[in-house]
């Protein structure tokens, strides 16, 4: 377990340190949510209705920022070779890197969401539901993103590949997160029904993402 937390600590120190780019996602999220009311116009009812969806689209895209460097940096400087020789399997290394990435870039989105939700005229119940779905859903997006990050690292291709690979995989997360939120506000389905599916999707992603990422890294090693 020492090796696992060493990877988590190092990756967090790297992304939170100078030039690490952890703040980029939150700034992007903030920009999207700030711009939307100007584009939609001063219709508070409309804003409140589409607010959860806007927040989720912003968070989804913000979660993808920085993924393309997640493995590429370690491939380029030789760290991945040495990491491969740890007694810890490559799957756990990938999971540790995913966890660190989420703590540094995903968790701030969840924390910023309530303040941004106020700008979209969301009622308290909707804010609670959005924050809860983001707390469960953003790890799912990050861990699905590990697959794209591994491909980007292995084949030295940048961000476009990530968006093309990861967004289709993240669509179910988006659907169930937004439907859970609207269920909490207007019904008729109880909040728990889509939320449990979202939980299932998150667990699925957290287990399978690192396995697929490790397989991609191994396959491309040369």
């Amino acid at each position: 377990m020492g090796a696992f937390f060493a990877v988590v600590r190092r990756d967090m120190a790297l992304s939170l340190g100078a030039g690490g780019g952890a703040g980029l996602g939150v700034v992007f999220f903030l920009s999207v949510i700030t711009v939307v009311p100007f584009a939609v116009g001063p219709d508070l009812v409309l804003l409140a209705r589409i607010g959860p969806a806007i927040l989720w689209v912003g968070a989804l895209l913000a979660s993808l920022i920085g993924l393309e460097r997640l493995f590429a940096a370690d491939v380029e400087d030789g760290s991945l070779d040495a990491l491969s020789l740890s007694s810890m399997p490559l799957e756990l290394t990938a999971a540790a890197k995913g966890l660190a990435h989420w703590l540094a870039t995903g968790l701030p989105l969840v924390v910023a969401a309530p303040a941004l939700a106020l700008m979209l005229n969301l009622e308290p119940a909707a804010i609670g539901a959005v924050v809860l779905t983001l707390l469960v859903g953003t790890p799912a997006v990050t861990f699905l993103g590990l697959v794209g990050a591994a491909f980007a690292g292995a084949f030295r291709r940048g961000g476009l590949l990530i968006a093309v690979l990861v967004i289709p995989l993240a669509i179910p997360v988006l659907i169930f997160a937004v439907s859970a939120t609207s269920a909490a506000v207007s019904g008729p389905v109880p909040f728990g029904t889509p939320f449990r599916v979202l939980l299932g999707l998150a667990l699925f992603a957290i287990v399978l993402g690192p396995v697929a990422a490790a397989a991609a890294l191994r396959a491309a090693r040369g």
């Binding site: 090796a3 040495a82 990491l83 020789l85």
Partner: protein
Amino acid sequence: MTVPPITALRGEGLSCRRGFKTLFQNLDLQAEAGRALVVTGPNGVGKSSLLRILAGLLEPSAGAVRLAGCAAEAGLREQVHYLGHDDALKGALTVRANLEFWRAVLGPTGLSVDEALEEVGLGGLGRLRASVLSAGQKRRLAIARLLVSRRAVWILDEPTTALDVRAQARFAAFGRAHLAEGGIVIAATHAPLDLGESAGLDLTAQGSNAAGADLGELEP
């Protein structure tokens, strides 16, 4: 000398194809504990590919790498140090943090971080960011990785690049000490490296023929 946990590393019938080119075919080699194996040959002949195969970082197109000895079943991955062309350092972290990271990841079985920094001549520089080090100092920090975690097999690809003459001699001394403890050293190098009595493997002779390795003696 006690019996080392790993007595030999063997490559059996190794072949390597990159694209359409066959770098070597049906290559047998053996590196014994206490005796370095020095791989030589011109650029592009497949030295780095061979070393990556021996470290388990690259799948050979045919053949297998095996360890002999009582600790052999623990697997290649946990017995091997691989020092490649890249130093595997993060410039944004301090010298100390870099080495502490590798000590935790590779297993804290060797020297402490401070002792290892002292050994490679970086004592007192632990608080600097690794990005401000010179190329040679970065190399020394990469070498310190071999010292903080004790592993039987050292696989070294041009280990002394960027090192000055004194640091090269110091590194050769680390290698000899590792061999004296019953370790295995496999090195590809252009610069002469005094690793004591060693076996040589010239990859030029391999080409695409099916001959076994030429395990002639090299005078130290």
